[in-house]
């Protein structure tokens, strides 16, 4: 027997979970995409942390992937999230990383149930490529994303950067993927922060209207 117990929810506020799946493969070193992505995410965390209400409602988790995937930030409020420095190196083990994000969402929802109300979680993939090496279970994860979206278990957004294979992302995601203009990570994360504030603060049961992504999207 080991010591095992349930985490305490820090407060009873309705929770929104945002799981980031971040491409840390070698190509992300081009144009310092990795540095700009990290800076944008840190700024997002700071903005959310400075918002009295959203900081108590929005939880984030971060999964990075290159040669392997790693849950580097467990689901938690941003004020308690300790994001490590992101390093670009290695191939693109994207598919198992997305599966891990789906697992994290399901585990966290089990934790929320019976303790706090929660909104549909988000999984946000940022990538500048496509899965490599080959042989990753694309069909399986595509099916799980479709099931997740149709069952309203989570919302999946794919954001392509640089040389990202947008056709691949279109096949993967139910929602049309978006292409980041250049390395406008800061603008993307600013938009995301504003969107999350709206989503997490909208009255329970209502649909939130998020702002247009024009500032960062490549047309």
């Amino acid at each position: 027997m080991e010591f095992k117990t349930q985490d305490t929810n820090e407060n009873y506020e309705e929770k929104t979970l945002c799981v980031f799946v971040l491409d840390c493969s070698g190509s992300m070193i081009r144009a310092d995409r990795i540095g700009k992505m990290e800076a944008g995410l840190r700024e997002f965390m700071k903005e959310i942390g400075d918002d009295t209400a959203t900081s108590q409602c929005l939880e984030i988790a971060v999964i990075t992937y290159s040669a392997e995937f790693q849950l580097v930030v467990q689901p938690t409020l941003v004020e308690r999230a300790n994001l490590p420095k992101l390093v670009a190196d290695g191939p693109t083990l994207m598919i198992p990383a997305i599966d891990e994000a789906i697992r994290v969402v399901e585990e966290r929802k089990k934790y929320y149930r019976g303790m706090v109300p929660y909104r549909r979680p988000f999984i946000i993939l940022l990538t500048d490529g496509e899965p490599y090496p080959e042989g990753q279970d694309f069909a399986g994860v595509k099916s799980r994303i479709q099931e997740g979206e149709s069952g309203a278990h989570f919302t999946f957004w794919a954001i392509g950067v640089g040389e990202a294979n947008m056709a691949f992302l279109t096949g993967l995601s139910v929602r049309p993927p978006r292409k980041l203009e250049g390395t406008k990570f800061m603008q993307f994360f600013e938009w995301l922060g504003n969107s999350m504030k709206i989503v997490s603060q909208a009255p329970s049961g209502s649909k939130a209207k998020i702002p247009s992504p024009d500032d960062w999207i490549e047309c």
Partner: protein, 280 residues
């Protein structure tokens, strides 16, 4: 850990460095100690060395050792073992003031030996001593205490002291609590209890409901409610291990692993983590 007789209670105690310290290769600044006396008194103490104080890992260890040793001496005294002796509020308060002054003086002595400022030794301190249904608690600073009653309900045993800002508290080493009685909180209860936990504030987000949005005034309220979902399974597991005769060393090893990464909140804790868990 100090153990003089085979334990009348089940307990586990320990500390684990938070991510902040592990990332910088620094030592844990928390400390804990449990004393089980032949007289039947059980004494438990936790201390949280200030992150900004260079030598607070030394003062937190000194604080818990000093107070447990001092109370152990009292517990062995004729007065405390007299048939008519009752540990009551006024007596406990006076005793606590003396004890905490001794702790402070010991830390000042240590600071002089180390040729450093007393501010480099800032630490909080929580102590509980118990026998039968009597539970006496004293503390300066933050941290939390959870008490389990006969029905299995958990309630807070102290109110952590907070300064004007969320990351401020008062330390045993300061003069403030000497002149401001409200900064040394003491209590004595004589109600059956079946479990107790002392913890430093690095763990509180994992184990207590301590931050909810306020509808008025300050942005947040601190309900200071121990989470039954967190504590009850641990209590039951400790009782089960004890009843099966599991060696204390084995229980301690498991507790140490639990503190490191037993839950996502514990695994991601920035601050050092310390919990003493006691089951009667």
């Amino acid at each position: 850990m100090k153990k003089k007789i085979s334990s009348p209670i089940a307990y586990c105690s320990g500390s684990s460095a938070g991510l902040h310290h592990t990332a910088e290769g620094k030592t844990c600044q928390d400390a804990s100690m449990v004393g089980i006396e032949a007289s039947g008194w059980v004494i438990a103490a936790v201390a949280d060395g200030a992150g900004s104080s260079q030598h607070s890992h030394l003062s937190s260890q000194l604080a818990v050792k000093t107070i447990v040793d001092r109370i152990a001496k009292l517990a062995a005294s004729d007065r405390w073992n007299a048939p008519h002796f009752r540990l009551e509020d006024k007596f406990w308060r006076e005793t606590s003031i003396s004890l905490f002054k001794v702790v402070r003086e010991e830390i000042i002595r240590l600071a002089k030996e180390e040729k450093a400022d007393i501010e480099d030794f800032n630490t909080t301190l929580i102590v509980a001593c118990m026998k039968g249904n009597v539970l006496a608690i004293a503390h300066v600073g933050d941290g939390r205490v959870a008490v389990r009653d006969q029905a299995g309900n958990w309630a807070a045993g102290i109110s952590p002291f907070r300064g004007r800002y969320s990351n401020e508290t008062v330390f045993v080493t300061m003069e403030d609590w000497l002149s401001n009685p409200s900064m040394l909180e003491t209590s004595v209860t004589n109600k059956e209890f079946t479990g107790l936990a002392l913890l430093t504030d690095g763990v509180e987000h994992a184990a207590f409901i301590c931050k909810i949005l306020s509808s008025e005034g300050a942005p947040f309220d601190d309900p200071n409610i121990p989470s039954k979902e967190f504590w009850e399974p641990l209590h039951q597991q400790l009782v089960s291990m004890y009843r099966k005769g599991e060696p204390h060393k084995s229980i301690q090893a498991k507790w140490s692993q639990f503190l490191k990464r037993g839950t996502p909140n514990l695994a991601s804790a920035i601050d050092d983590k310390t919990i003493i868990l006691i089951a009667k």
